[in-house]
């Protein structure tokens, strides 16, 4: 089943004025979109989002190279690296992570990752709790639940991410709170529409159903400025569930 109403690929430039602050290079290849961004302090300098199914390994480093060149930076100028941890496409996650590990190792700069569900939840506006339902393919979905925003506008996790059927995931989310929730994630685009016909469900705008690179960059910077970075060796994708055990050849 194809995706419905995904956001258009494109480039985003939110701030023309460069502010002081650390410079982060941020990537996300957890979905069919290839996303790269440069964040300087609280300002997003530039972000590219392109539809690149099955070609992340070919396209990611050229995209980073282009992004840096456009903004007049070199890798040595980057103070740290941010990445979307998933869950999502296994190969896509590893393309970004192998690249970011190499760049962080080579530059001896710190790195950090943000779970995809945290990016989705932070993207969605409104005062309702947010349920995330991510298409895990093969008839499965990842689900996670976040609270309504607190006084500072932050959503707290209520249910950690788990794998299951889309129906089971949705039931899990609905059971996590009593009132209505906003639902976001790629399953909203790929699962049958009738699955979401419930009076307590409000679907987020279609453009938020995949991790938003601008939100990811902002969250990475917030954590970076709090010193919540990790070593290259400890940077690890979020896979969720047991790995598929298919033996190679004999």
């Amino acid at each position: 089943m194809g995706l419905r109403g995904t956001r258009r690929p494109g480039r985003f430039k939110r701030d023309s004025v460069r502010h002081d602050g650390p410079l982060l290079l941020v990537t996300d290849t957890s979905s069919a979109y290839l996303n790269v961004a440069l964040q300087r302090g609280s300002s997003l300098l530039s972000a590219h989002s392109t539809y690149q199914p099955l070609s992340h390994a070919r396209a990611l480093l050229p995209a980073i190279d282009l992004l840096l060149a456009e903004q007049g930076f070199k890798l040595v100028d980057v103070d740290g690296f941010g990445i979307c941890l998933g869950p999502g496409s296994f190969t896509g996650l590893r393309v970004s992570m192998a690249s970011i590990k190499a760049l962080a190792y080579g530059t001896d700069k710190p790195a950090l990752g943000i779970p995809a569900v945290a990016v989705l939840a932070a993207s969605v506006g409104g005062d309702l709790p947010v349920g995330c339902l991510i298409d895990a393919r093969k008839g499965e979905a990842y689900s996670a639940l976040f609270s309504a925003p607190d006084g500072a506008g932050h959503r707290q996790p209520i249910l950690p991410v788990e794998a299951g059927t889309p129906e089971g995931g949705l039931a899990r989310l609905m059971g996590g709170v009593n009132g209505p929730i906003t639902l976001v994630g790629s399953s909203c685009l790929s699962a049958p529409e009738e699955l979401f016909a419930h009076s307590r469900l409000l679907l987020a705008e279609a453009r938020w159903h995949l991790p938003d690179i601008c939100t990811l960059a902002r969250l990475c910077m917030e954590r970076f400025e709090r010193g919540e970075t990790t070593t290259v060796e400890h940077l690890e994708p979020i896979y969720v569930g047991q790995p598929p055990i298919h033996k190679h050849r004999g």
Partner: protein
């Protein structure tokens, strides 16, 4: 090319990094094996391999540079395995190498895994030469769990394929026969060990494609013959002479490998024959090569055991013989799962 090369290998179940000098001296050769991870499944699980490579690659590279006493900035060329192998596994090592090259400005070379095997012996102290020094051209047998091929090596970087396996690789046959005999994974080492207690002539297993003009291999029939022999004994309620089966099977494989390698040398007017790849660590193959090559009027050469199994020193070594990738390709090159070295 600067004085130092960094090699990265991740084609199957070993994450490896090595540092060598431009003249082939190995300064560090670090291998992180995943065998314990896959042993419980009796074979390599590609998804587990990819995940493990991702978590090991930076530490392995860090250790190799540290052991060599070389900084990344001193590395003038990075050589990484591009294929053949498991795509997801290859991608991790190659993408890491691309990122390092992008950051450091080092040249990047994409290496065919088999080229690494058949030229590992060209590294300093890369092999044992019981019949005298190695000279070009030579015939190289690359024999492992994923490959069984014969090459004519005219010079570094100049190769011609002479024969390939038409079905299973020899190492694959070792693993499958080990499974029939109830031996743990990886089977090659276990068969080698068990065979020492057995009689190599106890069972007359077939020697497939034994025509002198045919340089291709086939091990599927041999593997099936072993299984049938085992199953027939089991059905008859007779004891299984596991050591004799292991020894006789191994002897059949060794016999075919050496017979084809020697025929390839004779057909091409070559004096020197090299064995390489994981199965080249087999003790019986090494012994018989040393014994039989002179009888065939040839010089046998044995790749050092540590350079027979998958490693990155051989990838760095082969990286000396290839042109570096141009700028666009060094950022965008992708791995491949299959394809002969030509």
């Amino acid at each position: 090319m600067s004085d130092y090369l960094l090699g990265i290998e991740s084609s199957c179940d070993e994450t490896a990094a090595a540092v060598i000098t431009a003249d082939g001296k190995i300064l560090a050769n670090v291998i992180s094996s995943q065998i314990p991870l896959h042993a419980r499944y009796g074979g390599v699980i590609p998804e587990l391999a990819s995940r493990n490579h991702l978590m090991s690659v930076s530490a392995v590279v860090r250790q190799a540079l540290s052991e060599a006493g070389v900084s990344l900035g001193d590395v003038g060329r990075i050589a990484a395995t591009r294929g053949p192998g498991l795509l997801g596994a290859l991608m991790v090592g190659l993408q890491f190498a691309k990122g390092l090259a992008m950051q450091s400005g080092a040249e990047l070379v994409a290496v065919h895994h088999v080229e690494g095997h058949i030229t590992a012996i060209l590294l300093e102290e890369g092999g044992e030469h019981p019949h005298g020094p190695l000279t070009f051209p030579y015939v190289a047998l690359a024999v492992s769990g994923g490959h069984t091929s014969l090459y004519l090596v005219s010079a570094p970087g100049r190769y011609r394929v002479l024969g390939v396996t038409l079905d299973d690789a020899a190492g694959e046959a070792f693993d499958k026969v080990a499974r029939v005999l109830g031996l743990p994974y990886p089977g090659g080492v276990e068969i080698d060990r068990l065979a020492r207690q057995g009689d190599v002539g106890a069972i007359a297993f077939p020697r497939p494609l034994k025509g002198k003009q045919n340089l291709d291999f086939s091990f599927s029939g041999l593997k099936t013959a072993v299984k049938l022999y085992h199953d027939n004994l089991t059905a008859a309620g007779q004891p299984i002479p596991a050591a004799d089966i292991a020894a006789s099977f191994q002897e059949a494989v060794v016999d075919v490998l050496l017979r084809k390698s020697f025929a390839a040398a004779h057909l091409n007017g070559v004096q020197d024959v090299v064995i390489s790849g994981g199965v080249a660590a087999n003790s019986r193959l090494r012994t018989r090569m040393t014994e039989l090559a002179p009888q065939a009027g040839l010089k046998g050469h044995l790749t050092r055991p540590i350079l027979c199994t998958d490693n990155a020193a051989m990838i760095a070594g082969a990286g000396r013989f290839n042109l570096p990738l141009e700028r666009a390709a060094r950022l965008s090159i992708e791995p491949f799962a299959s394809g002969q070295l030509v």
